[in-house]
């Protein structure tokens, strides 16, 4: 596998009439993690969508090699289906092995074992987040783009997300986490997005 890489040069993002940030460059490769900080509305989610190539930047360009896994506020799971069947859709799309120990272990690790028969719409915020994490882990992507992954999680689950990110970068992956909450992962760099807001000398 080629080492994953994510680079952005001189990005600017405009939403509506407002310029959210400009002159943002970053360069990440396998084994590195970056924490994007900033309060609500500073463009963290937009940055993630630009890096995922779901949104065109107002200026600048994104280069990447490696597959992208995205975790944001949407679940991409069918609300009316039991969790197990909703996840089975992505299992077939992403071709997870039918039964392997890693998958079973993850189900327990994320505390989803008893939830597999519960329709997705009855899950709590934290449970939804953990289900989405499960989908992300199953995808096996090289580059993780996590948008507010800690929202609605209790302390144990936060520690779990931190451990999963650490595990991901230790195995050669790349992670970019946008969150206004602190996240403790060893060796994680920090990018404070408001520093790139117009009117601030970067």
């Amino acid at each position: 596998m080629e080492a994953p890489r994510l680079a952005a040069r001189d990005l600017a993002c405009r939403r509506g009439e407002r310029l959210l940030f400009r002159g943002l460059s970053l360069e990440l490769s396998g084994g590195q993690a970056l924490h994007v900080t900033g309060s609500n509305g500073t463009g963290k989610s937009s940055l993630i969508r630009i890096l995922a190539r779901l949104l065109r930047p107002y200026a600048g360009e994104v280069e990447r090699s490696g597959t992208i896994g995205l975790l944001d506020q949407t679940m991409a799971l069918d609300e009316h289906l039991p969790l197990g069947r909703a996840l089975a859709f992505w299992r077939r799309i992403d071709r997870w092995p039918d039964r392997d120990d890693a998958t079973g272990e993850r189900v327990g690790q994320l505390g989803l074992r008893d939830l597999m028969d519960v329709p997705v719409r009855y899950l709590s915020t934290g449970q939804r987040k953990r289900a989405a994490l499960f989908r992300l882990l199953g995808q096996g992507a090289d580059i993780w783009l996590l948008d507010e992954p800690l929202n609605g999680l209790d302390r144990d689950a936060v520690a779990l997300v931190e451990a999963l990110v650490a595990q991901h970068i230790a195995s050669g992956g790349l992670a970019l986490v946008a969150s206004h909450q602190p996240i403790a992962v060893a060796g994680m760099a920090v990018l404070h997005l408001p520093d790139y807001a117009p009117g601030v000398d970067a």
Partner: protein, 220 residues
């Protein structure tokens, strides 16, 4: 191929009549209800019924095809499915093409079946019924494509989408109805052939128009 099959299975589980606790039965019931109520509205004169019944079936089919419009694409965009597909390199065009097939399967064949009791209720004779059935076979894929195109174009609109959908249906559906329902008056194969031709154009267009509209909505 496995991705294609997986998408189609998911779509069928959502759209086939009887799926989702019967919500999906509505277009079919609507179609039958129109056929049942029409004689009460215009009176029981068999000549009037037989002369206009085929056209009523066509209008009912059009309305049944656009009833599930707001469920066709919008929920998947809101829930992030299209984002996740895009990351995996599954083109919007492919998703829309599969959705078109599933949408047609969920009402086209069933409408053709339901047209049998409907034609009995409207007093349509055998030869006309044959024309209606052939016309529906030729026209319903086009109606499904119209539904998909409109659903995609209005997918990014938070409000006012329903009103715009209603307006958009008219110009898109006029050619299909002219030739589809028109084939009834002259009993002609020509009308059915033209209906099929329009259907093909709409079906060929729908994935590309839909894919572009969904990408545009995502940027918004």
């Amino acid at each position: 191929m496995s991705g294609f099959g997986t998408l189609l299975l998911r779509d069928l589980a959502q759209f086939l009549p009887g799926a989702r606790k019967g919500n999906t039965l509505l277009p079919l019931l609507f179609f039958v209800a129109v056929a049942m109520l029409y004689p009460f509205a215009v009176g029981p004169n068999p000549n009037v019924l037989a002369a206009t019944g085929g056209g009523v079936i066509w209008v009912a089919a059009l309305l049944a095809a656009i009833l599930p419009l707001d469920r066709l694409l919008a929920p998947d965009l809101e829930n992030g499915f299209f984002d996740q597909w895009a990351l995996r390199g599954i083109a919007e065009e492919v998703v829309v093409a599969v959705r078109l097939l599933a949408h047609w399967l969920s009402f086209g064949p069933f409408l053709m079946l339901a047209a049998l009791p409907a034609s009995a209720l409207l007093g349509i004779d055998g030869a006309t019924l044959r024309t209606v059935e052939l016309g529906l076979l030729a026209g319903t894929p086009g109606l499904a494509a119209i539904g998909i195109i409109i659903a995609a174009v209005t997918v990014g609109l938070r409000s006012g989408g329903a009103a715009l959908s209603g307006l958009l249906v008219i110009p898109l559906a006029v050619p299909l109805l002219i030739f589809g329902a028109g084939s009834l008056s002259n009993g002609g194969e020509g009308g059915i052939a033209l209906t099929a031709a329009i259907s093909l154009v709409l079906v060929a267009m729908a994935p590309f128009a839909g894919g572009a509209a969904i990408r545009a909505a995502r940027e918004g």
